[in-house]
C-alpha cells in the first residue's frame, strides 16, 4: 500500500498552479477496532484507508461518496475530532496530525466545522448570542468593539436579524439554525471550514438559500472549504475540485469539469447516473449498481469496487489500482478507466 501514497501524493493536483497548499493530507488512515459479542474476536473497521489530497488557499474541495465511504470520518480527522491511526495532516506548513492541548485550541481557530444536523448541533439552552460568542469566549478573544457587536456583525453576515441575539435555537427554522451554525464557524475568522453535509437536512427551497450563502462567503472572505456531501448536484454547484470516495479509499480526484463531464472511474459514472435527473423523465439509461457497499471490516481484495463493477476483470480482484492520471484528465484509481464523455 505504500506505493499508492507515493504515486498519488504528487499527481493528485496536476492541473493547479504550484501554490503552497493550505492543507495537505498524506496516507491518512483511520481504523476503528470492533468486537463481535462480549468475548468475540476483535476486528477492525477500515473506515479510511490511505487517503491523500490537498486544499489550496481559497479553494473548495468536495468529498463525495455513499454513506459509509469514510467522508465524514475524514472530515472529523481534519478538524482533529478524531485521532488518525496513521498518516499525516499538514496545515499551513505545520504537521498537525497529533497536535495537543493549547496548540490544538489555537489550531482550531483556523479550522472550523459546520455540522449536518442543525437541530443537534446547537445547545437548546443557550441563546443565539451565546452560541455564536462561544468560540470567542473559549479562546479568550476580545474583539474590538466588544463581543456583542462582533456577534451581531456575524449574524448579519449570514443573513440573520442581529436583533435576534437573545433568542433561543427553537425559535428558528432549520435553514436559520444552519445559518447560526455557519456564523459560529465564522466567529474566529478561520482559514478552512469543513462543512459536513451542511444542507442535506434542509428543504429544497431553503437548501438553495444556504448554498448561495456559502458560495457568497467563500467569494467574499476567500475561505477554503472541504465540502462533504452525498448530493452530487449540490457539490457540483459549490466545489471547484471533487474527490470521490468508495469504501474508505479515494477512487477519483479531478476538477469539476473532469468529474462531471468526463469521469474516468466506473464508480464515479455509476454515482452520477444514479442521480435522478428532472430533465430526463422516466430515468432511462441509468447505470445500475447491483448489491450493497461491501463491509469495511472485510473489504474485497484488489480493487475494492471490483465486486460491483461491470468492467471488472481478473486483474481487478488481484491487484489494487493506484491513483494515476488518465486520458480524461482526472486522477483515478482504476485498471481500466473509462474514456469519453458521459452521455
Amino acid at each position: 500500500m505504500t506505493d499508492l501514497a507515493d504515486s498519488a501524493a504528487s499527481p493528485a493536483t496536476p492541473t493547479l498552479p504550484a501554490r503552497e497548499p493550505l492543507l495537505k493530507v498524506e496516507g491518512l488512515t483511520k481504523h476503528f477496532p470492533v468486537r463481535s459479542g462480549l468475548w468475540g474476536k476483535g476486528s477492525v473497521v477500515r473506515a479510511v484507508e490511505n487517503v491523500n489530497f490537498e486544499v489550496r488557499p481559497g479553494e473548495t474541495l468536495g468529498l463525495v461518496g455513499e454513506s459509509g465511504c469514510g467522508k465524514t470520518t475524514t472530515g472529523r480527522m481534519l478538524v482533529r475530532l478524531l485521532e488518525p491511526t496513521s498518516g499525516k495532516i499538514t496545515f499551513n506548513g505545520e504537521d498537525i496530525t497529533h497536535t495537543k492541548g493549547s496548540r490544538l485550541r489555537k489550531l482550531r481557530q483556523d479550522i472550523q466545522i459546520i455540522f449536518q444536523d442543525p437541530y443537534a448541533s446547537l445547545n437548546p439552552r443557550h441563546t443565539v448570542g451565546r452560541i455564536v460568542a462561544m468560540p470567542l469566549q473559549v479562546n479568550g478573544i476580545e474583539p474590538p468593539g466588544g463581543v456583542k457587536r462582533r456577534v451581531q456583525e456575524l449574524l448579519e453576515t449570514v443573513g440573520l436579524n442581529p436583533e435576534h441575539y437573545n433568542r433561543y435555537p427553537h425559535e428558528f427554522s432549520g435553514g436559520q439554525r444552519q445559518r447560526i451554525g455557519i456564523a459560529r464557524a465564522l466567529a474566529l475568522q478561520p482559514k478552512l471550514i469543513v462543512a459536513d453535509e451542511p444542507v442535506s437536512a434542509l428543504d429544497v427551497s431553503i437548501q438553495a438559500q444556504v448554498v448561495n450563502l456559502l458560495r457568497q462567503l467563500q467569494r467574499d472572505l476567500g475561505l477554503s472549504f472541504v465540502f462533504i456531501a452525498h448530493d452530487l448536484a449540490v457539490v457540483r454547484h459549490f466545489c471547484e475540485r471533487i474527490a470521490v470516495m468508495y469504501l474508505g479509499r479515494m477512487v477519483e480526484v479531478g476538477t469539476r469539469q473532469q468529474i462531471y463531464e468526463n469521469p474516468a472511474h466506473p464508480y464515479t459514472r455509476a454515482l452520477l447516473s444514479a442521480v435522478p435527473d428532472v430533465t430526463k423523465l422516466g430515468g432511462a439509461g441509468r447505470i445500475k449498481l447491483e448489491g450493497d457497499v461491501p463491509s469495511p471490516i472485510d473489504p474485497p481484495s484488489g480493487c475494492v469496487f471490483h465486486t460491483r463493477c461491470w468492467k471488472a476483470q481478473e486483474k481487478c480482484a488481484a491487484e489494487a489500482p493506484v491513483l494515476l492520471p488518465n486520458p480524461n484528465g482526472s486522477v483515478a484509481a482504476c485498471h481500466f478507466p473509462e474514456t469519453g464523455a458521459v452521455i
Binding site: 438553495a208 455509476a270 442521480v275 435522478p276 428532472v278 423523465l281 430515468g283
Partner: protein, 357 residues
Amino acid sequence: MTTSTSPAAAAVDPEAYLQVRDLKVQFPTEDGLVRAVDGVSFSVRRGQTLGIVGESGSGKSVTSMSILGLHNPARTKISGEISIGGQNIVGMKEEKIQKLRGKDVAMIFQDPLSALHPYYKVGAQIAEAYKVHHPSASKKEASTRAVDMLNRVGIPQPQRRANQYPHEFSGGMRQRAMIAMALVNDPALVIADEPTTALDVTVQAQILELLEDLQREFQSAIIMITHDLGVVSQVADDVLVMYAGRPVETGSVEQIMKRPQHPYTWGLLASVPSLHGDANVDLVPIKGNPPSLINLPTGCSFNPRCRYAGQNGNRSFSEVPELRPAGEDGHNVACHMSFETRQRLYAEDIAHAGVAQ
C-alpha cells in the same frame, strides 16, 4: 397522455381506484386550528403513479395518513371524501378500516429502521402482516409467503435473511424488506412516503426501479410522496404540487416538469442544483420560509414568498386562487396571473436556473 388528477370541480373518474374529493384535515390545538390539508382532490387509477410534491408542512404526509385512516378521530376534524375501491372511508368504523388497511392499501414509510420492530425477526414481521388478513393461513404458509416476498423484492438468500433482525440489514435491504411487508397482501394501492429519502443515490435508483417492476407486475396504484422533484420525474405519471395544505398545481409529469405554471413550482425547479448547465450561476431560492398552518396568509398563501404577488392589484392578498385549467388538458393551476403573463415570466426569469434549464 391521460391524466387522472382532477380539480375539485372536475367530474369523477369512474376508473379511478382511489378518489379523494375536497379533503380537509384539521387539528384543533391550544394555539388554534391547524389546517393541515385544506381542500385537496385527486384520483389514482390502478397501474398509475401519482407524485405528491411539497416541502415539510405542506400537508402531503397528513393526506396519506388520512387515506390509511390513521388519524385519531377524537383529535382530528376530517371532511370530504376518500373513496377506496368504491368505499368512502371518511367516518368509517375503525374495525372496517382495519380490514382495508394493509390489505387494500399499504404504506411504505420513510425510515425503515423505526418502522420495523427491532425485537422481531424480519420474516416473522412480514408473516404477521400476512396472517392478519389471512386468518386461516397456517404459520408455515405465512412464513413461506414471507420468504417468497423477500425473494421477490430482490433480497439475496431470502431464507436466511428472513431469520435475521432489522439491525442486521443495510439501509437499502431494510427498505426492500419494508416493501415486501407492504406488498405481502397484494394491495391495490401503495402509498410510499419519502421511501428513498434516507438512502444513497445508488440504492435509491435500485429501489425506484424495484417499485416500478412491482407495479407492472401487480398493477397497483402508487402514491409517491416526496420533496425530491428528481424522484418524481423518474417514477410519476401525474403530479400534485402542494403548498401550505392546498394544491397549487396538478398535471402530468411532463406538464409539471417541462411547462410548470405556478410560481411555487418554478421556485422548486429553479432552486434545485442541476448536473447540467453553468455551475457558477447562483441558484434562485424561494425567499422566506413556509407559513404557519395556524395563521395562513390571507389570499394566496404563497403571496409572501411569491416574486410576482401583486401583479393583479390586490387579488393575491385578498382572494384565495382556485385550481383552474392552465391551458393544456389535465393541467390545473391555482394562480391569479393570466396564462400569458405566466408564459412570459417563465421564459424570462425561470427557464435558465437550477434544474429548470
